[in-house]
């Protein structure tokens, strides 16, 4: 039988966490920055008080809105041919993170700053991989101005991928640009709404806070019914209670509030019950994404997702290592396997390391193989007359040939391609053969695969008129000022810089 799902909570424990989260929502509430949104929430039954930034969500409101959330959605690739269903009973694998560095063995430090070419290469690799269904704007292109970044990456995606794409809900203006550009690329707004291409990322600031920039963008994603990941990154011990049950109770409240918000924006807008929460290392205050606790939290999230019947999202293949070393290997496998075993429905972060701050295309292809390996493991051991193979045992043992074995028996011949998982990158040669093939380690072999993909990967070109329309649109975007952006996002009173997912946004970041 297939491997049973890892359930880390009893049903009583799940209810205890749920009740605590409902209490948090009803008694503490969520810090909502946007004044307009506060009014709208109030109109929909949330309790808003002038003397508190916290908006309280009565239990009935939460229960009513949760009923509207779809338990599945289908993501489409650029041309609509590629589809991937995300639901509450299967697992899809994707990227995500905001790597600002990329592995580069030629570089003195082993990494260098990421540029648009790296973003494009990452999109092209994902497009060629068997198991990774979606790339998000993982590799941050430092060589394009921030306010135009979303356009550059969407253009790069449209030119290089047939799979869906993902972007953060970074503000109303950029999110609307994304929808407009996508509509040009896929042939209209209606097509985009009915067949979503983009998966959004709504970063929730723990503890219990929705930034205006994020809710601005989230509203646009919900209106266009582009599935959005509700993504608090609560850290046990610093932005959440140190205990994992406490973190889950808090983060569950954050996610549920996000889910309610999506339904207020647009009933039946698809969301993912997600987290990238982990722990703070109490010795230093550093976050520890590759910790065993990350896997436990993800397992808890997957189970909570099932409780609410919403597809869950969690991180896998994450590590704190700064090298492509053994720590990198065991942390990424451990987090990936736990997430998969827990039945998490959308597992992200393939290709990243250094707590998703760094990217290695080599890791991306290795992760694809790890996923194949895990999928094979999850199938368990099938037991039936054929798999027991009693006849084969009799044939071999009773053979007149001295020293007969199973190698050339028909039971082996008919099943040898499917009975076991056959890795493409992991080496199983004997030492002499391995040496003859250049004594390569897995990173070198993965690099060769990356290079061969980059050599051959091509997608059907976009129609010339779509190209022209994209360029005209981008020209318009490039003329906007930082002040205009701040004004549109309601950030005029914000001084200095804004940091979004490790990237500092300021007037300076507008310069190439």
């Amino acid at each position: 039988m297939k491997l049973p799902k890892l359930e880390i909570f009893s049903s009583d424990e799940i209810k205890e966490i749920h009740n605590a989260s409902m209490q948090i929502l009803e008694e503490i509430g969520i810090n909502v920055e946007d004044p307009g949104l506060r009014i709208s929430l109030n109109e929909n039954g949330a309790i808003v008080a002038d003397d508190s930034p916290y908006v309280k969500f009565p239990n009935d409101l939460v229960k009513e809105k949760l009923k509207l959330i779809p338990d599945s959605f289908v993501l489409h690739g650029r041309d609509g041919d590629f589809t991937a269903e995300v639901n509450t009973h299967s697992t899809q694998y994707a990227t995500i993170g905001t790597p600002v560095r990329i592995y580069d063995p030629e570089h003195q430090r082993g990494v260098r700053k990421t540029v648009l070419t790296d973003t494009i290469n990452q999109i092209r690799i994902v497009d060629s991989l068997k198991n990774i269904i979606c790339s998000h704007v993982d590799v941050w292109p430092h060589d394009v101005p921030y306010l135009e970044l979303h356009c550059h990456v969407i253009k790069a995606w449209a030119q290089n991928s047939t799979k869906p794409y993902g972007l953060g809900c970074f503000g109303r203006l950029p999110s609307q640009d994304m929808m407009d550009l996508l509509s040009i690329i896929v042939g209209g707004k209606n097509e985009l709404i009915t067949h979503p291409r983009l998966i959004g990322f709504f970063s929730i600031t723990s503890p219990l806070s929705f930034s205006q920039l994020m809710t601005n963008g989230f509203e646009v994603f919900a209106k266009y019914k582009q599935p959005t990941i509700l993504a608090p990154e609560a850290l046990a011990g610093s932005t959440a209670p140190i205990t994992l049950a406490g973190l889950l109770a808090q983060t569950n409240a954050e996610i549920l509030a996000g889910a309610v918000l999506a339904q207020i924006y647009n009933p039946r807008a698809p969301v993912l019950y997600g987290t990238v929460s982990h722990i703070t290392d109490m010795r230093t205050g550093n976050s520890a994404m590759g910790s065993v606790e990350t896997g436990l939290i993800t397992a808890g999230i997957a189970q909570l997702g099932r409780y609410y019947n919403i597809p869950s999202r969690g991180p896998g293949a994450v590590t704190d290592s700064k090298l492509l070393d053994m720590q990198n290997g065991f942390e990424r496998y451990q987090t990936l396997m736990l997430a998969a075993q827990a039945g998490c429905n959308y597992i992200t972060c393939a290709g990243s390391y250094e707590a998703t701050l760094a990217e290695a295309l080599e890791l991306l292809v290795i992760d694809d193989e790890l996923v194949s390996m895990i999928k094979h493991t999850m199938e368990g051991i099938e037991v039936n007359e054929n798999t027991i193979g009693l006849e084969a045992i009799q044939r071999v043992v009773r053979s007149e040939k001295k020293g007969a074995n199973f190698l050339d028996d028909k039971h082996t011949l008919t099943q040898m391609r499917t009975a076991h998982f056959l890795p493409a990158l992991a080496d199983r040669n004997r030492r002499t053969s391995w040496r003859k093939k250049g004594s390569k380690d897995i990173v070198q072999r993965a690099r060769e695969k990356v290079n061969s993909i980059l050599e051959i990967q091509r997608v059907p070109p976009l129609a010339p008129e779509k190209h022209q329309a994209i360029d005209a649109f981008m020209k318009k975007v490039s003329k906007r000022s930082y002040e205009y952006y701040k004004e549109t996002e309601g950030m005029m009173d914000k001084k200095g810089t804004v940091t979004i997912d490790h990237v500092e946004i300021s007037e300076d970041s507008q310069k190439k």
Binding site: G403, D408, L413, T432
Partner: protein, 213 residues
Amino acid sequence: MSLKEQLQTAVLDFDENKVKSICKTSLDNKQATAVELLRMIGDVMKQVGDRFEKEEIFLPELIAAANTVKVTIDELLDPIIRESGVKKETKGVVVLGTVEGDIHSIGKDLVGSFLFANGFEVHNLGVDVAPEMFLEKAEEFGATIIGMSALLSISMDIQRKFIELLKREGKRDKFKVVVGGAPTSEDWAKNIGADGWADDAIGAVKLCLGLVS
């Protein structure tokens, strides 16, 4: 479909009877001689070996393909060729076995299949073969190469004893002796005065081709 293509299909279907009937019909119709048929089978097996190296064909298929053609060669083609007195085309004659006191056979069988797929005439003596038997069979089949496998550290000494036997009998120069098996090594082969060592079947083919060139 050409005769060779027909043979190729039958070999890859592991259809022993089909291979035999194709050959028999061709001989009866005088479409091809036994030597020509053997050459065609050799070409098919060479292709199988090449595809194995590219990992298009897996090990069980390679062994099954070799087993599929073996009956036709042993029972139909070889007797005709022997009778006609024509010298059989081969890269070399190999006598192969696992040494006395050792019953491991998979590795040695693989080497046999690989050598066969690469144009050698292979006589597999099986397992637990005494040094005297190696010599007797090598002389009987006119072997160019004697391959000895040992999977146990206690049985590998038989390889050394066999070479000593050849020296005592004054027949050391008559045969090339190659050794293999998990506990053996290149150093071991040099130590006992063997002509070569390989650690896998592909290496064994290269080694033997080098010895007969």
